[in-house]
Amino acid sequence: MSEPSSKSGIDARFVRLPSIAERKLGRDYTAPIRLDPRILDQMQQTISELGSKYAETLAAQIALLAPLIERACTGIAEARAQLYSIVHDVRGLAGTFGHPIVGSFAKSLCGYMESCSNLDPTIMRFHIEAMRDALEDPHPDAGLARETLRSLDLLIDATSVEKSRTERSTG
């Protein structure tokens, strides 16, 4: 079941335990080779049922973002944290409920907020507008979304370079 480790000099041992399934059901348990399509269908159905309610939540969340931009960009920590919390939530859930493009814009915005101490209101606003537009469009264009994401990346890079230049010249 276990063997000591002598290589590292640390008092460590490796342990192999039976699976949880074997511990629960005995050694005769065999895992299914494939996922049960009936369960997968039911899970997908559940997501569809929750999806309409989630769409309302998502719209309400996105509506909360724009009024927070100005305060978040002027360094008010509470506004920034609230805005990030909402966008982080959207990033994690929108794709599951059939809004992958909204989720991608949210992911891009989260990445920007995580890497930047002084937020740029234009970048923030463009992201939030892109999220809102993708949500309102019943058939959002994935190609256009990719182009928009690329443009946002370029804008972030350009703004970052400009800020560094300004900081160097004033510092």
Binding site: A21, K24, D36, P37, I39, Q44, P100
Partner: protein
């Protein structure tokens, strides 16, 4: 068609799963999906500290946790759980419980941190039914390999941990 799933039904019904996520919507979603899968008992916490308390009180078979949470995040909670093990404890205690982390981050540094703290499996949001089902089944079906030191017991911190991601068409990353 797949093989009969009588075994997985019985297995899932016997499981107690702890869900830790600060998003109410995510807790609702995971609870609904786990219920459909037939999980016997689902308990929820909204941050790592509450998750840690429920872990001690309710001894779940498996944990599904978010990464970033306040005041205690999923990484810190996992580390605390891995440190709970006392040599001589029976199997299935803190160090042995699979921890599936659901996170929006997929950077190598974040995944490495998750591995170092004792996370068993790392799943990138957004989660899909197939991804959740597959990772949960794998976690409970495979033998558990752990490393034990006097102060820690959990998955090997030197193993390769892969960030599992749902397949297209959900991804629309810039090309």
């Amino acid at each position: 068609m797949t093989t009969p799933t009588i075994h997985s039904s019985e297995l899932f019904a016997s499981l107690k799963v702890l869900v830790v996520d600060d998003s109410l919507e995510m807790r609702r979603l995971l609870t609904a999906l786990l219920s459909v899968m037939g999980i016997g008992e689902i308990i929820c916490a909204s941050d790592g500290a509450a998750g840690l308390r429920l872990f001690s009180e309710r001894a779940p078979d498996l944990i599904i946790t978010d990464g970033a949470m306040q005041p205690m995040d999923g990484y810190e909670m996992t580390r605390a759980i891995r440190a709970m093990h006392n040599p001589g404890d029976p199997p299935g205690q803190g160090g042995d419980v699979p921890v599936l982390m659901l996170s929006g981050h997929m950077g190598a540094d974040i995944v490495t941190r998750a591995r170092d703290e004792g996370v068993t499996d790392y799943i990138v949001k957004p989660v899909t039914p197939a991804l959740l089902y597959e990772r949960l089944l794998e976690a409970v079906s495979k033998p558990v390999h752990v490393v034990e030191t006097p102060t820690w017991r959990g998955p090997s911190p030197t193993r390769r941990l892969v960030a599992r991601e749902a397949e297209a068409p959900l991804n629309i990353k810039p090309q």
